[in-house]
């Protein structure tokens, strides 16, 4: 994956999470994995197209997802219901779109698809693993850790 793609996703993740949660964040160590694989329980995915093909997965535990959704809705949500799911989907959309805006400004042409959320029955991530090398951006928040997986491949 090209180095120029990395910073826009890191900056977008920080900007959007800080904006919607209004809390302090800390970036964990960036790392590369062989595949973008959901590990934590709740995963939202947005597809990328244009100059590249790829995916962004936002992965967190169910407890973290519920706490994040509650904070974004400014009310304590009792369960990971339809509203909580929509909230996490929208969070993924906002982070990815913000990154794509930054990439456009740098001269790259990316487009994105609406978010899709996976959880529960997809435990283990078998159904949505993406076998492309992925950049992992861990972000630590008071409500838990969120891992942003960015798997981008240039079109041949």
């Amino acid at each position: 994956m090209r180095v120029e793609y990395i910073n826009p996703f890191v900056e977008a993740s920080f900007y959007v999470l800080k904006e919607v949660l209004g809390t302090e964040l800390r970036r964990g160590k960036l790392c590369m994995r062989e595949a973008a694989k959901p590990r934590l329980g709740v995963t939202s995915r947005v597809g990328l197209s244009g100059d590249v093909s790829g995916w962004v997965l936002i992965d967190m535990s169910r407890e973290t997802a519920l706490a994040v959704a509650s904070a974004m809705n400014e009310e304590k949500l009792p369960d990971f219901d339809e509203l909580a799911q929509a909230t996490i989907g929208e969070l993924t959309n906002m982070i990815t779109a913000n990154a794509v805006t930054r990439l456009h400004a740098a001269g790259f042409n990316f487009d994105l698809t609406p978010p899709f959320l996976f959880y529960g029955a997809y435990k283990g991530g078998k159904r949505i693993s993406i076998n492309d090398e992925a950049l992992i951006i861990p972000i630590e928040m008071p409500m838990g850790t969120v891992e942003i997986n960015v798997a981008v491949r240039e079109k041949e």
Binding site: T87, H104, L112, P114
Partner: protein, 141 residues
């Protein structure tokens, strides 16, 4: 809220009616809260462009303002805007976007959208943009 001065209230004291079209229940809820806090009423909501167009036609002419997401399944925001403008070339539509594709925002503005709102939604900024459109609507009457 002072209903006399609230942006969403007409001179006769009745609220301006808004149709909210967005595939995210979260954004529908957030926009509805922001708008009703400023005196607007939510005439209806839709979760994709096709449903949104249908609702606009059903509610016409009782809709004063539409908020329209750009990235949606089935029919995206720009295609929906084109259809709404074909049906009612005086429609007051505000696009909602997390950006990503600024060219789509430009296209929407050229197609007839009155303004746009950027996500994540900030209450003050949303009301600023909406009030700009409402002021322009009032000046046109």
């Amino acid at each position: 809220m002072n209903a006399e001065s609230a942006a969403g209230v007409k001179k006769n004291g009745t609220p301006l009616q808004v149709l909210v079209i967005d595939d995210s229940m979260f954004i529908i809820k957030q926009l509805s809260q922001i708008l009703t806090s400023s005196g607007f009423a939510i005439a209806g909501s839709a979760s994709d462009g096709e449903e949104g167009l249908q609702k606009y036609k059903e509610l016409y002419p009782r809709v004063d303002l539409v908020t329209l997401d750009i990235t949606m399944p089935k029919m995206d925001g720009v295609a929906t805007l084109e259809k709404i403008m074909e049906f009612d070339d005086k429609a007051n539509v505000i696009m909602v976007t997390a950006l990503g594709r600024q060219d789509l925002v430009k296209k929407a503005l050229l197609t007839g959208a009155r303004n746009y709102i950027v996500k994540p939604l900030d209450r003050r900024k949303v009301l600023e943009r909406v009030e700009m459109v409402v002021r322009a609507m009032r000046n046109c009457i």
